[in-house]
Amino acid sequence: MRTKAITAIALIALAAGCSSSGGGGDKPGPGSSPPAAGGKLVIWGDDKRAAALKPFADRFGQENGITVEVQAISKDQQTTFVTASQQGSGPDVMVGAHDWIGNLVQNGAVDPVQLTAAQQEGIAPNALKAVTFNGQVYGVPYATENLALIRNTRLAPEAPATVEDLVATGKKLQSQKKASEILCLQVGQNGDAYHLYPFFTSAGGYLFGRTANGDYDPKDLGVGKPASIAAFEKIRKLGEKGDGALKRSITVENSIATFTAGKCAFLVSGPWAVTDVKKAKIAYDVSPVPGFAGGKPAQPFLGVQTFYVAAKGKNKALAQEFVTNYVTTPELAVALYRAEPRPPALTAAFDQVKGTDPDLAKFVDAGKNAVPLPAVPEMATIWDPFGKAESAVIGGADPRTALSAAAKTISGQITS
């Protein structure tokens, strides 16, 4: 009898201890009381942004009498967000790239936001267009990013006007033994559609056609079309069997390092590369990515960093308040710019910082022709096969074979 009593007491004690400590974790039990008066707002972002957001999130929490938790998700943010949302353990607010929208919408992971006319006017038009999908605005943009040509001015004092100029300068530097590579543009074993895109468009290629109102039309796939094949003929000439300006040995890991080591005069990269270039104390300048002589203008992709309201968040009213009425203030955009220098999408914030950072205006200038990354869900099927076709062609394969196979794979995935 005595042992039974001990058993019972021990069990109760253990259960109570466990449930109370478990309740403080990520899954609050029904017994735990809500923190502060008004609940909790959970924000997810990548490491850098999470750190920059923290002070502002705290202030928002104090103003509203709630607790705000900013969590850094280091890897696979989109997948993690979709999976967690579906299981009911996702955040209330998500920070991420705008080209996720199509996938997030088809998985019911984000809600549209209703911005006032004044708020919409305060956002750069191309950024606002980027977050608009099926006629709805799906998030509040805060920064834009696009590729530009970063040049070592000691090796190449003049910005090249065309790809041909660039190759000629690069070859001259090679023969003078001043540089070992013509161009640092990451390709890697499996290709990189994002970095190749300016050249691809300049040579006349396209990914998706446009509908009458300017939206991408997933039914018109451009990858295997003659225009894209012709574009890849030009790219092949830049590849390993041609000029050697594009090489698979230049990868995401070594492209910036090769440039900062002075082994090439030209780097095609985004604002994120500038930090490394500055650290290496290289004299540099930023100019638009050049196009082929006589070709179309080179159009890089425009990426827009966006705040989303999670559809399955536990505190949607707060999330909407934060995203639509708080993120639209310039202060936060400036702080996020300081955390990682990318041009703010809010015009007021951009005007505040552009005087202090000359590169910013140059990146925006380089992005004048930029097209928003397609946010249609079908875009997800493009990256992998397109990249592999790119890598094969740069290695010397026949563009028609490679692109037809890629187009077949892509359309197979779109219809399935």
Partner: protein, 530 residues
């Protein structure tokens, strides 16, 4: 646990008598059962909340069963077997069954949740602002207790400064003077209403998001806690026709429960679908779709070669080193052993990345050191040789260690006896040492084979499947089935969990068959040599 059980074994075997070692054993039982009860309670509440009654029943039965088992003096063998069996069920059988059941569904991006989720997503996504409607400033108020009273939206039209109060019943304009409005347009006080503070409103966020104030043109909804807008849902679910109807055009998308999507008459499909069973479709696609099955067979063959070469190569090299260092004439054995184990001590994750960079055509150490110009990962044969070489380097220390251990277990008299019988060292190795070694090492070789068969890191971190033939961007020359599956499930082209699960089931079957056959053969071998 063992102590308790050993004590309890005695009374169970011996005729029933007074129990020995009571108090301490009891205490230990309690300490171990406590966490069980705690975990059960912790797991029960979410299940209860979401109404998973079957799972709750299983949980209750399992917990009760465990308590009975360890509190009663009977069923001693079961006391030993149950924990292992439970872990086997949870960590082995359940994932396998879950994967297998996923293989029969269309679980993928756009088909993740159930139909209700899809309908909610479609309706929410279709709410648009009524063109030309006012952009209201919102103040959340209540006519009762701040925490529980009925909610009202006090909305101010910034253009006119007029305040209206809205509830689910409709919108009513407040007479001027009844409400005080601050500079920002928010109501600070209103007759008959209690204005909620930010925190109070935030606490009732779900009710606020849910409150819809009907108006002539649509409905007023909140956008956050300080703004409201007049919006209209463009699409709504109609239960009568089991379809989604667009209000403006009258167009309908009918639910197709075999595909898990709303499809219009002209074949147009709404993006938000749901998860449905698709029977054997994923498996038949694997076998019949020529774009999948052809490359799949090639990948399977390379996968077998890779696993065999990795296991065999490391074994031969490891055994060679072990034999060399086993000889007592060798000097500095300790140093060599340390050096040999070095690769094993490094994290393979980092080493694979280092090797990848060393194989780089232009900047890699290997080409630079040997003055080569080999496009290592660019050609199918060279890429395959490269990954096998990397595996060899990473894996032979393990084989060296186990072979060294096994060699030391073989009595030295045996080889001495064979020497006396006039056998050459080679004959002695082949006829005496090797057979005895293999009896001990074959199970390890089989498990090493199974591991290498699914050695995801080895490929993903080095070549990522490259090179890909120009005419096939789906299967690379060095792709293993597992890296191919990973790309299907989590790769860039949208998650296809259902199809990936079907491939996983295939992999499981292949590995299982190979293992069973090899273990059978091992047993026969043991009978021969023991």
């Amino acid at each position: 646990m063992t102590a308790v059980l050993e004590r309890e074994t005695a009374p169970a075997v011996a005729p029933r008598g007074p129990r020995r070692g009571g108090a301490r054993g009891r205490l230990l039982t309690v300490l171990l059962l406590g966490p069980v009860a705690a975990i059960a309670l912790w797991a029960a509440f979410p299940l209860l909340e979401q109404g998973h009654w079957i799972a709750l029943g299983v949980l209750a039965a399992a917990t009760a069963g465990l308590f009975y088992l360890y509190l009663s003096p009977r069923h001693v063998p079961a006391k030993y077997l149950v924990p292992g069996t439970l872990f086997l069920l949870v960590f082995q059988l359940f994932p396998v069954l879950y994967t297998a059941s996923t293989a029969f569904t269309n679980f993928s991006d756009g088909h993740r949740g159930d139909k209700r989720d899809a309908v909610v997503a479609i309706q929410t996504a279709s709410v648009t602002r009524v063109p030309g409607s006012a952009e209201y400033v919102l103040t959340v108020a209540t006519t009762g207790d701040p925490a529980t009273g009925p909610l009202s939206f006090l909305v101010t039209d910034p253009a006119t400064g007029r305040v209206s109060a809205g509830t689910a019943g409709g919108l009513r304009t407040l007479p001027p003077g009844e409400a005080t409005v601050n500079a920002a347009g928010r109501v600070t006080a209103a007759a008959g209403y209690t204005v909620l503070t930010g925190g109070q409103a935030a606490a009732r966020g779900r009710e606020i998001t849910g409150l819809v104030v009907p108006t002539a043109g649509g409905a007023i909804r909140s956008q956050g806690l300080t703004r409201a807008y007049e919006g209209r849902a463009g699409r709504a679910y109609d239960e009568g026709c089991d379809c989604i109807r667009e209000a403006a055009t009258g167009r309908t998308w009918t639910a197709d429960d075999s595909r898990g999507a709303f499809i219009a008459a002209d074949g147009d499909r709404l993006a938000q679908g749901w998860r449905v069973g698709v029977g054997l479709a994923n498996f038949t696609r694997l076998i019949t779709d020529p774009a999948v099955s052809g490359p799949f067979a090639r990948t399977l063959i390379w996968n077998l070669i890779f696993a065999l070469a990795s296991t065999g190569g490391t074994f031969v090299l490891g055994l060679g080193c072990a034999l060399a260092l086993h000889s007592s004439r060798m000097r500095g054995r300790g140093l060599y052993r340390t050096l040999l184990v070095l690769p094993y001590a490094m994290p393979s994750f980092a080493m694979l990345l280092v090797w990848r960079d060393m194989f780089n055509t232009d900047f890699g150490l290997i080409n630079n050191l040997f003055g080569l110009d080999v496009d290592w990962f660019g050609g199918a044969a060279s890429a395959r040789i490269a990954v096998i070489l990397v595996q060899l380097w990473l894996g032979y220390p393990y084989m060296f260690l186990v072979a060294t251990g096994a060699l030391q277990a073989i009595p030295a008299e045996l080889s001495e006896a064979s020497k006396l019988d006039g056998a050459t060292p080679w004959q002695s190795l082949r006829r005496v040492t090797l057979p005895l070694l293999l009896v001990a090492l074959t199970p390890l070789l089989i498990s090493s084979f199974a591991f290498n068969f699914n050695n995801f890191n080895a490929i993903y971190l080095t070549t990522d499947g490259a090179p890909f033939a120009a005419d096939n961007p789906a299967n690379g020359a060095t792709d293993l089935l597992i890296t191919y599956t990973y790309r299907l499930a989590f790769g860039g082209s949208g998650a296809q969990y259902g199809f990936a699960a079907a491939v996983s089931v295939f992999i499981f079957v292949i590995v299982a068959v190979i293992s069973v056959v090899s273990f059978r053969r091992t047993r026969r071998q043991e009978e021969v040599y023991s």
